[in-house]
């Protein structure tokens, strides 16, 4: 716990006032003024007594902050509970103050950011605040400060509350249009048009239709039902989508708003694709706050989407390498994956990535935040579909 030795003395107990009181005492003793001497002694005694009390007040006082949610979206509320315990016989005065204006705001404007209480011997008190998350990121929980001192509050001492694990605020989810991404299926379209059927994914059986090839007949099921049954197939494998985010141009252009909008679109798209049963992954060349992975391979399980959203929450607008190098290097891009690429504008890096994906015959869609104000002839030529990021949002006209 960090101790702040700074004090906020009362106006009656300030050093100049005490000097004057001392002078009064001296004069009163010289003149034999008993009443004035007594008054001056009381003031001086009170000052030294409360100062000693204040010095001892910090000992045995502990403070702990807990939050009811570790992860939330912007605009959602969080309950912060700060518990102060006075584990000694000396009563103390405590004041808790919520610092505002950072990542969290108080839910109600009427609610006070400062709370006070007195703590008797071995007593505890709990202060609660309802906070609203303002922006994406990894944030400490409100950083409440608390002051402890004598019951008269003459010499308060300040302490920082031990902060618990940081709160993860995901990017905001926005409604999106359905994304039509061409996909490549090695076994063709499941069903009669498929050149090859994958026997591992039989959805079920149904009555055999005479125009269907005989190879679809499920002989075992036909024998049991005493009529011909044919197999119904599941898609060969679940659709895999890899979301690519190139951070370079955002950082160069200091486009913070565009970066946040892009992250919102990526998070929303990941959630939308997950609802559709796709496996979603993320690859970015951005830096992340703290330890943790920067990429999420395309997969599908219970903890996958929270992990992807956490990477987006931790992401900073600073590049740490080239996205294409990452694609070519340690990240193994599976053959059946489709890609959605996000960048600030149509730059050379996006063109190189597009060429690489086209050479691999990987279906891809490109989204940019800003079209460059350059003549058509000078503009990098992306042969794949390129859309403005705004077109992805539900309330915008145009493709996709």
């Amino acid at each position: 716990m960090e101790t702040d030795e700074g004090r906020v003395p009362s106006v009656f107990i300030t050093f100049p006032v005490l000097i004057i009181v001392g002078c009064f005492l001296f004069v009163a003793l010289l003149c034999g003024q008993k009443a004035l001497s007594l008054l001056a002694l009381v003031v001086l005694g009170l000052a030294s007594g409360t100062k000693l009390w204040s010095k001892m007040s910090l000992a045995g006082v502990t403070c702990r902050a807990v939050v009811d949610k570790g992860r939330l979206f912007p605009g959602e509320t969080l309950r912060l509970e700060v518990e102060a315990v006075n584990a000694k016989f000396l009563p103390v005065w405590v004041q808790m103050r919520m610092s505002q204006g950072g990542s969290f705001n108080l839910l109600s404007e009427d609610e006070s950011a400062t709370r006070e209480s007195s703590l008797l011997w071995h007593e505890r008190v709990c202060f609660r605040w309802e906070l609203v998350a303002r922006r994406r990121g990894i944030h400490p929980t409100g950083s409440p400060r608390f002051k402890v001192g004598d019951l008269l509050g003459f010499f308060p001492r300040e302490k920082m509350v031990e902060s618990g694990p940081p709160v993860i605020v995901y990017p905001k989810l926005v409604p999106l249009k359905p994304l039509l991404l061409g996909k490549r299926d090695f076994f063709g379209t499941p069903g009669a048009e498929s050149p090859v059927q994958d026997p591992a994914y039989i959805l079920g059986t149904t009555d055999y239709q005479h125009w269907r090839p005989a190879r679809f007949i499920h002989w075992k099921a036909s024998a049991r039902h005493s009529r011909l049954q044919e197999k119904l197939f599941e898609p060969t494998e679940q659709e895999k989508i890899l979301l690519l985010l190139s951070v370079d141009e955002f950082a160069k252009n200091r486009a913070e708003d565009a970066f946040e909008e892009t992250l919102e679109a990526i998070a929303s798209l990941a959630v939308q694709l997950d609802r559709q049963g796709c496996s979603v992954g993320l690859l970015t060349n951005g830096r992340v706050v703290g330890d943790g992975p920067t990429t999420v391979p395309a997969a599908r399980n219970v903890q996958h989407l929270p992990a992807l959203l956490e990477v987006l929450a931790r992401l900073q607008m600073a590049a740490k390498g080239d996205l294409l190098d990452m694609l070519l290097g340690r990240f193994s891009l599976v053959r059946s994956v489709g890609c959605v690429h996000f960048s600030f504008q149509e730059d050379q890096a996006a063109v190189a990535t597009e060429r690489y994906l086209r050479r691999r015959k990987t279906p891809a869609v490109f989204f940019v935040c800003r079209r460059r104000d350059v003549p058509e002839v000078d503009r990098p030529n992306l042969e794949t579909r390129v859309y403005d990021l705004g077109a992805l949002r539900l309330n915008c006209n145009g493709a996709p």
């Binding site: 949610k69 939330l72 994914y201 079920g204 059986t205 049991r224 679940q238 959630v271 992990a307």
Partner: protein, 312 residues
């Protein structure tokens, strides 16, 4: 009431399964409560081995079905075959006609086949071509599934999940237990030497005796409070069903019996609530995105609800 036979079964299973006393105890709880168990964990932790050890310890007919995508409902329930000699259809029973059925990797098969177990698990019977056949008693289903990768799997429907009394996870062994496993399995498979220490009729009697374990009104009220709190919205989209509260009561009676008590304590209910109720709860989408699990929500509910005092 003498439930020492259950202790013998637990000791027998512990000869094969190392360091999983709680899981083995929960298996016995489900068996005594006449329920079924879903064992969920990553591959290689001994889910199938535990099920086989228990099946061997309690004797009776044991069947194992490896669930695959092309498995048909009739592969589970059985089917009618035309006998050319007699000119009649003869019922060919499926693996469900057993005392202990191990449904291995149950989420690898299609929901239609998964659903074929619904009637068997709840009503202890199967219906094939309009004819109903009673299952042997006791009938105990142990299903296993891997929670890590969902690709190529079919999550169990809610109706199916609700029919499992308990969901058990095993977890990795610690270092000492890992060494014990290596030593125990170094030369021979202890499962091969495992003999039955009970028979199905004895277990059926214990299941009847379990019903006599006393459960007081405050404890019943405590169960109702916990189950009711799961239905109050908040982080949960759907709470536990009355089948869940019945399950919690029966499991509490079984645990009390296993621990040589003739009455259920609120602590029994707290101990079992996660295993009995968590798999019946459905989270809201935003809670799922936050990476929260039903077990955490249930823990919060249990912390919030006051435990009945002995004098009440």
């Amino acid at each position: 009431m003498d439930f020492s036979l259950c202790r013998k079964i637990m000791d027998n299973v512990s000869r094969v399964i190392v360091g999983k006393e709680r899981s083995i105890e929960l298996l016995l709880v489900a068996l005594l409560a006449d329920g079924h168990v879903l064992i969920e964990d990553v591959p290689g932790l001994g889910k199938t081995l535990m099920a086989k050890s228990l099946a061997r310890s309690i004797g009776g007919a044991f069947r194992r079905v490896q669930f695959t995508p092309d498995l048909l409902p009739s592969d589970i329930t059985g089917f009618n075959v035309y006998n050319q000699r007699t000119g009649q259809f003869i019922f060919q029973p499926g693996p469900v006609m057993a005392n202990v059925l191990l449904a291995d990797e149950i989420n690898r098969t299609i929901p239609r086949t998964q659903s074929s177990l619904l009637e068997s698990m709840e009503e202890r019977q199967v219906t094939v071509d309009g004819e109903t056949y009673r299952l042997p008693h006791p009938f105990f289903v142990m299903a296993s599934q891997n929670p890590i990768e969902l690709e190529g799997t079919f999550p169990l429907p809610e109706a199916q999940l609700d029919r499992f009394l308990l969901k058990i996870t095993l977890g990795y062994p610690d270092k000492e237990h890992e060494i014990s496993i290596l030593e125990r399995f170094q030369e021979e498979d202890p499962l091969q030497a495992l003999a039955a220490v009970a028979d199905p009729s004895e277990l059926a009697e214990l299941q009847v005796l379990r019903k006599n374990i006393h459960i007081s009104h405050p404890v019943k009220s405590y169960i109702a409070d916990i189950v009711g709190a799961t239905r109050d919205g908040g982080a949960l989209r759907f709470g536990a069903s009355p089948r869940g509260s019945l399950g919690l009561m029966r499991a509490g009676q079984a645990l009390a019996a296993l621990r040589d008590r003739e009455y259920v304590l609120p602590d029994d209910i707290k101990y079992l609530a996660g295993s009995v109720l968590a798999h019946r709860l459905i989270l809201r989408e935003e809670e799922r995105l936050r990476g929260r699990r039903p077990e955490q929500i249930l823990d919060e509910i249990i912390q919030r609800i006051p435990v009945p005092a002995p004098a009440e």
